[in-house]
Symmetry: C2
Subunit: 188 residues, 2 copies
């Protein structure tokens, strides 16, 4: 007789993430995830607390991948170069995983969600400190991250509706903001 169906948390998370990207957040149902991993929906509750918890696990998985990419991108030691590489990496990742990225920076439906991007910001803040000096590092880093997230979110939402080249707009923004947060005596 065939072995009874069995699954694992990581199989569930992978299936959920695939479903999220392929068919959108609303199609991420417990029944469809269960089908994808070969069990019935109630079995999922042995591995995850509920649907929100499953989405949290998916976003944790996404964050870990983003961390790995960030570490791989920041290697030259020159802060401006590394910042460019990191932010370009975010954008590449967002384009490859639009649904997951959108969820990552969406306001949480319920309050009291965890601090997922802390380690991502730490590296970035360090680089910005080298560029702008310690006094302005925090607001400068926030300017950069807010711009990058906003640009990517609008791009994904197809909110740039006046034509023109988006890669050009991205490069323009990145260059000008980096210049703006560099003190005058250090600018090229």
């Amino acid at each position: 007789l065939p072995a009874r169906a069995q699954t694992s948390t990581s199989a569930i998370v992978t299936a959920a993430r695939t479903l999220l990207e392929e068919r959108g957040p609303d199609a991420l149902t417990m029944r469809d995830v269960a089908t994808a991993v070969g069990v019935q929906a109630p079995s999922l509750y042995k591995r995850v607390r509920n649907r929100s918890d499953l989405i949290r696990l998916v976003l944790d998985d996404v964050m870990q991948e983003l961390m790995t990419a960030q570490t791989a991108a920041a290697t030259t030691g020159d802060p401006a170069t590394d910042l460019r590489a990191i932010l370009n990496g975010y954008r590449t990742f967002a384009h490859a995983n639009p649904a997951a990225y959108a969820l990552l920076y969406a306001p949480p439906t319920a309050p009291g969600e965890p601090d997922r991007s802390q380690r991502l910001s730490a590296t970035l803040l360090h680089l910005v400190t080298e560029l702008s000096g310690p006094a302005d590092a925090l607001p400068a880093a926030r300017t950069l991250v807010a711009w990058a997230n906003g640009f990517i979110a609008m791009e994904l939402a197809d909110s740039f509706h006046l034509g023109g080249d988006l890669p050009t707009a991205w490069t323009y923004g990145l260059t000008h903001i980096l210049t703006a947060i560099t003190p005058p005596h250090e600018a090229a």
Copy 2:
């Protein structure tokens, strides 16, 4: 005998918007909206096509309010001053209507959503053109809008987790980006 319950599209939209802000997007159910306007859920389908359409009407209502605020904010004729006033106005509105604002710039679940922010951008683009000159106006405007939306979204999502003063970070970003998109010979 009492008159039969009756409602209107505007009453439905208002009730939906209130429900959205008070209890979040998931609590915006057809049954609850119907109860709020004093009818049964099926009656709503005489006024709106479906739940997506109702949300679209809510966002149209929000956009019209934002447009009015923008017109009222840009009055001095000095582009830098007017831009500050407009972006500060967005932020004030977003804080007063966080759920609606979040929905406004959320990626659409279904593709083919309408171009809601076109007129908002037109005014902004005009001001940026005065500031940066026509050659760079489009990427400069996109830099500014992307930054503002990103900052506000992160603020609403409670994604700024390193302490510090957020109003300070907002002013820092606004000032530095405006400087960055102003050609050198026009800078103060």
